[in-house]
Symmetry: C2
Subunit: 141 residues, 2 copies
DNA sequence: ATTTGTGCAAATCGTTTGCATCTGA
DNA sequence: TCAGATGCAAACGATTTGCACAAAT
């Protein structure tokens, strides 16, 4: 029963999500969920996979990210035009975004609250609230 | 002194922003700032300009939107991957976003408040807080 | 006259897709 | 076996850029 302990939880995670635990998916999931919460772009994850000796194609990285998102394992974060960020923390929380280096960081849960939300237009309901706190270098003065 | 009253304020607005009041810029600014707050994409504005008999090129629309943004006349709103939205309301406020039809709406100022913001990482300061309330169709049930 | 803006088409960037090949159950 | 996954390269949509022409000061 004591197989490769690092990979087993990941395998189950994929199974539960109805995704075949393929080489690539196991590797990508391993990278994503190994060390706490992460915020990656497809390109970043692709590079990291290659660096770890897992020769996935960029297309597969995209496919995988979207499948994981669809399965509720990841969450997309809208930051700005082009690049899409994926967040391994799918619980309700908000973000800091460093405009200097394009890095996303979680804002500790429970600290930040949004109050006074007016009711949405008729026939619609809130699906999610995104809060992005944009950061810039403090102007030393 | 009583010239074309509709265009004069726009002309001054551009002058103050250090932008030459060209035909296209006047036309685009006219469309953008004429009737209250608006949320446009480059493509939308382009179509609207053409419909109003102003044959601007899409490239110029992009240039203009960015120049206006740089001059503080517009604000960019990050919604999701691809399209970039520009908002004529540059004051501090937040948005509803209808995922059904891709429409942005202002949330009345003063109603919504963000509390409990933790202090940003050392050397950084908050430049702006974006709040996007995503809406979906209420599931009739 | 000189500087700045404009239009077009080609180039770029992130992302998606079609299709032949491979792989896990 | 065989549905589902992968890789590649071509296709894509939004945005940008290079350069010749036009317009504003």
């Amino acid at each position: 029963m004591a197989l490769q302990e690092t990979k087993e939880p990941v395998r189950g995670m994929l199974r539960n999500a109805g995704l075949r635990p393929t080489r690539q998916r196991l590797a990508l999931a391993g990278i994503l969920f190994a060390k706490g919460d992460r915020h990656v772009t497809a390109e970043l994850l692709h590079e990291e996979a290659l660096a770890n000796g897992v020769p996935v194609s960029l297309a597969t990285v995209y496919n995988t990210l979207h499948q994981f998102t669809g399965a509720g394992l990841l969450r997309e974060v809208a930051v700005e035009g082009s690049k899409t960020y994926f967040d391994t923390n799918t619980s309700n929380h908000y973000h800091f975004f460093s405009e200097r280096d394009g890095v996303l960081m979680d804002i500790p849960v429970g600290k930040l609250a949004v109050d006074g939300l007016p009711s949405p237009p008729a026939g619609m309901e809130v699906s999610r609230i995104d809060v992005l706190v944009r950061l810039v270098d403090k102007k030393s003065g």
